[in-house]
């Protein structure tokens, strides 16, 4: 194994971690595993792709790159707008599907099956609207820069890690230092008591959908930036996301991020040691092992 495995693992892990945070938040508040979360990652990437392309056309088609990065000003603007659109999409899915099921008091398995259905529908809609061909935010070639110790990374890759760190720290502060964060933790622990404390659980649920989908969008754009944009990109990330969410402990944001990095490093190590075809197997092995050995994860509370 070369030291480059570490860099590759951290880059993949930062994307997995961001996606896992969305899963862990929705699971801890809504009490079901949302298998449609991967599609928020894909839709987020495609929203940003479409907006960036539209802005590029409006700007005359030739947008210069920002500093050392492979993209111009259109992508950051598109990312902000796409986060809003992805959050809106999550709210629409909740209003049309999960909300009515919650009101009926549907069993968890019904919600999980509904999320499978939503996942299929959302993925097929992407193929219908954008086709199944891979797309790219930028076709510019980037040269990986030496980081020392035999490791290299492109500016785009380093940016994705930086963005992930900033978002995780920001989200951690939101959960621990703000009123809405405390409300989310309260609803997560005991929804009935939270309502007796004056918290409107519906508002908290909306916030959780928006936060989770927003982070999924960022993860999708980052993944699209350093790899490519495909309709199945969210589906392919789903197993590592769940492995990270469960390994980190349901409800723990730092746990999800740390576990994302662990899963990312395990994947890149497996690729280096056994070959690329074993990448997916690693997340599965971690998922099964943690469920058997420590179901509450690294930082989760015992239910």
């Amino acid at each position: 194994m070369t030291p480059q495995v570490l860099v590759d693992g951290v880059i993949a892990g930062s994307m997995i971690g961001l996606g896992a945070i969305g899963i862990t938040l929705t699971y801890s508040i809504l009490r079901f595993a949302n298998f449609a979360h991967g599609e928020f990652i894909s839709w987020g990437a495609y929203f940003a792709l479409a907006i960036a392309a539209a802005l590029g056309s409006l700007a005359g088609g030739n947008v210069p790159s920002l500093g050392p990065f492979s993209f111009g000003w259109t992508l950051p603007v598109a990312l902000v707008l796409a986060v809003g659109l992805t959050a809106g999409l999550a709210l629409v899915v909740d209003a049309l599907l999960f909300g009515p099921l919650r009101q009926r008091g549907s069993a968890v398995i019904i919600l999980v099956m509904a999320s499978f259905g939503a996942s299929l529908a959302l993925r097929n809609m992407i193929e219908f609207v954008f086709t199944s061909s891979p797309r790219y935010f930028s076709t510019d070639l980037q040269i990986a820069q030496p980081l020392g110790g035999g490791m290299r990374a492109t500016p785009d890759q380093l940016l994705t890690v930086g963005v992930a760190i900033v978002l995780v720290v920001g989200l951690h502060l939101l959960l621990t230092r703000t009123a809405i964060g405390r409300s989310m933790r309260a609803v997560s622990e005991n929804r009935q008591l939270a309502s007796l404390a004056g918290i409107d659980a519906r508002k908290v649920i909306r916030t959780v959908w928006m936060l989770g989908a927003g982070l999924a969008c960022v993860a999708g754009v980052m993944s699209g930036l350093v790899v490519q944009v495909r309709p199945e990109m969210g589906l392919d990330l789903l197993l590592p996301l769940f492995a990270a969410a469960i390994l980190g402990g349901i409800g723990s944001v730092p746990g999800a991020m740390l576990a994302g990095l662990i899963v990312g490093l395990a994947e890149s190590s497996a690729v280096a040691l056994f070959g690329a075809e074993w990448r997916s197997a690693v997340a599965f092995v971690i998922l099964v092992a943690i469920l058997l050995l420590r179901p509450s994860g690294l930082f989760g509370r015992h239910e």
Partner: protein
């Protein structure tokens, strides 16, 4: 605070039927009027519907028919979180604090419905009332003893200066000495003007601190009177023993 018989009604229920399943009411036609400043005790044998009644008033159990009014406003179809904003605070019997949050965060969560400028003033006032909580404020609520948890739960409910405070068996699972402390504290809180409704199994001790008591049997009000008089009269014991006898017959 002994409430005057002329004091206005602050909380009332009329013809209340409620329960978790539509065709199986647990509370069956309860009429209730709680006067301003009163300390009302809800008694009854196990399974009488006391907890269901107070949970219905708090908005946790569906109302089948009838109405609930607080300070003249109809609460019947409002959500539980809105009832606190209207001045009705409820302390459940168990799971009544957020165990993963610190004591201070428990109070901050409840204070969120207050205007920003009010929050620290109210939390400061509660820390004065419960100095132990201030001393331990950084501690997670899950690390507190049973008595401390009850005090935190009561403090959390009081933070909005409610018109009515309802408590569901705060003595459950506590040592007798701690129960006396909790009851003494509830009496002090009532003396500040907070109308108090207490559900309790600890009949003798609870009658000693209440103004008035209502006895529920099989979801209906069977007896109502001044607490002191009920404590001395024979009706209360007869109702409890009668209910136990009926349950034995039903099992036989």
């Amino acid at each position: 605070m002994t409430s005057s018989p002329d004091a206005p009604t602050v909380l009332s229920a009329h013809g209340l039927f409620s329960g978790y399943e539509r065709d199986l009411p647990i509370v069956r036609g309860v009429d209730l009027a709680v006067r301003q400043g009163e300390f009302l005790l809800l008694l009854g044998p196990n399974g009488a519907g006391k907890s269901t009644l107070v949970k219905t008033i708090a908005g946790l159990v569906p109302v089948h028919s009838g109405t609930i009014d607080l300070q003249g406003a109809d609460l019947t179809s409002t959500h539980a979180h809105e009832r606190l904003r209207r001045g009705l605070a409820f302390v459940p019997q168990t799971e009544n604090v957020f165990t993963t949050l610190s004591i201070h965060e428990n109070l901050l969560v409840a204070a969120q419905i207050l205007p920003r400028a009010e929050r620290s003033r109210r939390i400061g006032a509660l820390y004065q009332m419960f100095p132990d909580l201030e001393r331990l404020k950084a501690l997670r609520a899950g690390q507190l003893s049973g008595g401390q948890r009850q005090m935190l739960a009561v403090a959390r409910a009081l933070i909005v200066e409610p018109a009515v405070l309802i408590l569901d068996e705060p003595s459950a699972g506590l040592a007798p000495k701690v129960v006396s402390e909790v009851f003494a504290r509830l009496r002090e809180i009532n003396a500040t003007g907070v109308t108090t409704v207490l559900v309790e199994q600890n009949v003798k001790a609870a009658l000693a601190i209440a103004d008035r008591a209502i006895v529920l049997v099989e979801g209906q009000v069977r007896l109502e009177g001044v607490a002191r008089e009920l404590a001395q009269g024979p009706e209360l014991g007869a109702l409890f023993l009668g209910a136990q006898g009926r349950r034995r017959e039903a099992r036989a």
